[in-house]
Symmetry: C2
């Protein structure tokens, strides 16, 4: 609708593509975290100068939040698909397998942006830290809901503690993310997933 061609907007046309620039920002934040990514490197990777970035995306915090949304709806979109798998076991298996594939992929940064974006930080980044905590909590919450459904369907035993199971899977996922940044390979982590799934009820 409001594409550049149709709109014929008045002033000087932007020299950047909004989506491409945000993708670059996402990659930078993904790799080096919120505090570890300076406006200077954002300028370079996005191919924009600072005033253009601020005009297009707001300040650094706003840019990070938009990059985070792009991460959730892009590389991390498989999470929503995984919880739609027919059984709890398949949910866990698909979720962890696809997570390992993403977090150890060669063409993208290692590890999960939501885990390492601002795990620990200085006082001026606490809002972002809290936002990421919220994202992780929602992830865990959606797992719990899916397990509640499985329990109602007798896919999980009646006495299953769904909150604990959800936290267990979240812990595996977050541990995998730490391992991926530390250089663990896809095969290393897939072997661990095998152990986890072998133990799954």
């Amino acid at each position: 609708m409001n594409s550049a061609q149709n709109a014929k907007r008045r002033g000087r046309p932007p020299a950047f593509n909004h989506d491409d620039a945000l993708e670059k920002a996402m990659q930078a934040f993904w790799e080096h975290g919120y505090e570890g990514t300076s406006m200077a490197v954002l300028m370079e990777t996005m191919g924009m100068n600072k005033p253009s970035i601020y005009a297009a995306f707001g300040n650094k915090e706003a840019l990070f939040r938009k990059a985070l949304q792009k991460y959730v709806s892009g590389p991390s979109a498989f999470v929503k698909d995984a919880v739609s798998e027919p059984t709890a076991r398949q949910v866990v298996s698909v979720l962890l397998t696809k997570a390992v594939e993403l977090l150890t992929a060669q063409n993208t940064p290692r590890g999960c942006m939501i885990v390492q974006g601002a795990l620990s930080c200085g006082p001026e980044s606490e809002h972002i830290q809290q936002e990421l905590i919220c994202y992780r909590s929602n992830f865990e919450g959606s797992l719990k809901e899916r397990f509640d459904l499985a329990k109602a369907n007798s896919d999980l035993p009646k006495d299953a503690n769904t909150a604990t199971l959800a936290k267990y899977v979240a812990i595996i996922h977050q541990g995998i993310s730490v391992q991926a940044t530390s250089g663990a390979t896809k095969n290393d982590l897939m072997a661990v997933i095998d152990v986890v799934m072998k133990n799954w009820q």
Copy 2:
């Protein structure tokens, strides 16, 4: 031997206690990570001004490394004890239980200093990031060696993949660390440990 009282050193006596100051630095780095802890807050928490810190501990990187050693031989010393437990199962159980107790304690920062000290960072902190990766790798390596021993003692099955088991336990530990910083309680995480141990071979 070289205590202040016995030595009768020449010049002006230090106004700080070396060990106490390092303890304070450790707590600050533990809570906010390497990059998130500025020299300004280190000055305040250590009760020393900058030149005294540099004279006593070297630059920020050297100070962090010394704080890290203090963390390993202090709060995190239980790891060495845990791997001395008589069976692999007890090793894992004691290790994870004590980890949860430490990482969710009220009087100390949440989470593990070795995990969140510099999980992602800017280019000027990559040495520290690498050092922490090394520490985590050594932790995992000592677990593998312990499992190798258990395998030799028929405490673990002959076909057990000890490297994978070690990575599995390391992943649980690192996931717990992420959870602890995000506000998970001791009870939350102990329940997960119960699940892990119930699944343990």
